[in-house]
């Protein structure tokens, strides 16, 4: 149904006269609401964002200050010696001298005779269970019985660089041990200046002591002059 409303001038004037007192306040309120949404609320949002940013920057600054405080307290000699111990246990590169020393010092201690063996420095598979730390794999023939060979691998496990015995195979003609020597290159480490530095924990210090004992136990020996080991690739 199409109903038409007829508004004449007098009616409009009457309505205007009746409501003219409300026009100004309504206009002011509308302007205020417009200002609120257009300027005040976005301004508030940016205040929150700036506060958040300031909080983050302050945290970063505090971290940096704490790091500086820690670094000024660090004893450089201790740090270097601990670093040496740990890099002997887990070398930064494929250190053939350390590896051969570990094998021959363990052999000397346990009185086993190592047969000829070879290994490749190219083939460094990563252990799945050990946080993907690369290892240099090799198979070591030992001319001795199971008990002596087992003593040898026990000693190997307490020698630096750290190694893992993957398999132990005793036959009438001798024993074959599959070994993996761990190493971890430096580039694996994520380096960020704003990282929170922490001093070495108590457990860490105990571990360093343990590694130091391993290192002392496997002190560098005179390697055999005969060409027993023949690494296939360097």
């Amino acid at each position: 149904m199409n109903e038409k409303v007829n508004l004449d001038l007098l009616s409009i004037k009457f309505i205007f006269d009746k409501n003219k007192y409300y026009i100004l306040p309504v206009v002011i309120v509308l302007i205020s609401v417009f200002l609120l949404f257009k300027f005040v609320i976005p301004q508030y949002d940016s205040l929150i964002a700036i506060r958040e940013q300031a909080k983050t920057e302050k945290l970063k600054l505090n971290t940096l200050k704490e790091n500086l405080k820690l670094l000024t307290k660090v004893n450089e000699e201790d740090l270097n010696s601990r670093f040496d111990i740990l890099t002997s246990a887990l070398p930064l590169d494929k250190n053939v001298v350390l590896l051969l020393n570990a094998i021959y010092s363990s052999a000397q201690k346990t009185g086993v005779e190592i047969g000829p063996f070879s290994f490749s420095l190219e083939d460094t598979t990563r252990g799945q269970d050990e946080g993907n730390i690369p290892v240099i794999k090799l198979s070591l023939p030992i001319n001795s019985d199971a008990v002596a060979a087992n003593d040898f691998i026990k000693t190997m496990m307490e020698t630096v660089p750290l190694s893992q015995v993957d398999s132990f195979h005793v036959k009438e003609e001798g024993t074959l041990i599959d070994l993996g020597f761990y190493y971890l290159p430096q580039e694996v480490l994520d380096y960020d200046l704003t990282l929170q530095l922490t001093p070495v924990s108590k457990e860490g210090l105990l571990l360093i002591d343990q590694m130091n004992k391993f290192k002392e136990e496997s002190a560098i020996l005179q390697l055999p002059t005969a060409p027993v080991a023949s690494p296939s690739a360097y």
Binding site: Y21, L24, P25, I28, V29, I31, S32, L35, L36, F39, V40, Q43, Y44, S46, L47, I50, A54, E57, K58, K60, L61, L64, K65, N67, L68, L71, F83, L86, L90, E130, I133, A146, V147, N150, I153, K154, M157, L162, Q164, V165, D166, S167, F168, H169, V170, K171, E172, D178, L184, V188, L189, Y191, L193, L197, V200, E203, G204, L207, I208, M211
Partner: protein
């Protein structure tokens, strides 16, 4: 009785009431506008009070001081990283010597090991003896170990044979670790 007629119209009460209400609305509207303005001013001063630049300047100063200790910082980070990795290696590497020790301790005296193969998952013991009771003793001992889950979790007899040439019984046992 008064006979005067008042020709001046009386003030419209309704108009007066509307005018009064209009004034109140005006006041409320202005207060609203003032409040909005005040909030905007407070937020503006708060934003100006936060000085991000000074924090960044201080950061740069600390970083500059830290650059003198860069070598120590790298070493300390590496040290902690290595401690973490060595700890992980020590906790996860297979302890094959203790398995071999445990198995060798249970081998009967008259039993000669022909082959012993231990890796992270299984152990195979093969050997020979002239006495069948020694073979039985070995099976019993290892079966007990598997039942008690001592070193080995299961036991499978893969072969058992007698060879006339050397009058020996040959046995091969496989266990899951």
């Amino acid at each position: 009785m008064s006979t005067d007629i008042n020709l001046v119209s009386r003030i419209d009460e309704e108009s007066l009431r509307r005018a009064r209400r209009g004034k109140v609305f005006n006041l409320i509207a202005i207060m609203f506008l003032v409040i909005v303005g005040l909030i905007a001013f407070i937020i503006f001063t708060q934003i100006k009070a936060i000085n991000l630049q000074s924090i960044r300047d201080e950061q740069s100063k600390v970083l500059e001081e830290m650059s003198k200790f860069q070598a120590q910082q790298v070493k300390l980070l590496l040290l902690n990283n290595r401690v973490e990795n060595i700890d992980s290696i020590l906790n996860t590497r297979k302890n094959i010597p203790s398995v071999v020790d445990g198995l060798l301790a249970k081998i009967p005296e008259n039993f000669l090991i022909v082959e012993l193969n231990v890796d992270g998952d299984s152990a195979i013991v093969s050997g020979k003896s002239t006495s069948l009771s020694t073979i039985g003793e070995l099976i019993d001992t290892m079966a007990n170990m598997a039942r008690k889950k001592e070193i080995i979790k299961s036991l499978t007899l893969t072969s058992l044979a007698f060879k006339k040439d050397d009058s020996n019984y040959y046995i091969s046992l496989k266990s899951d670790l």
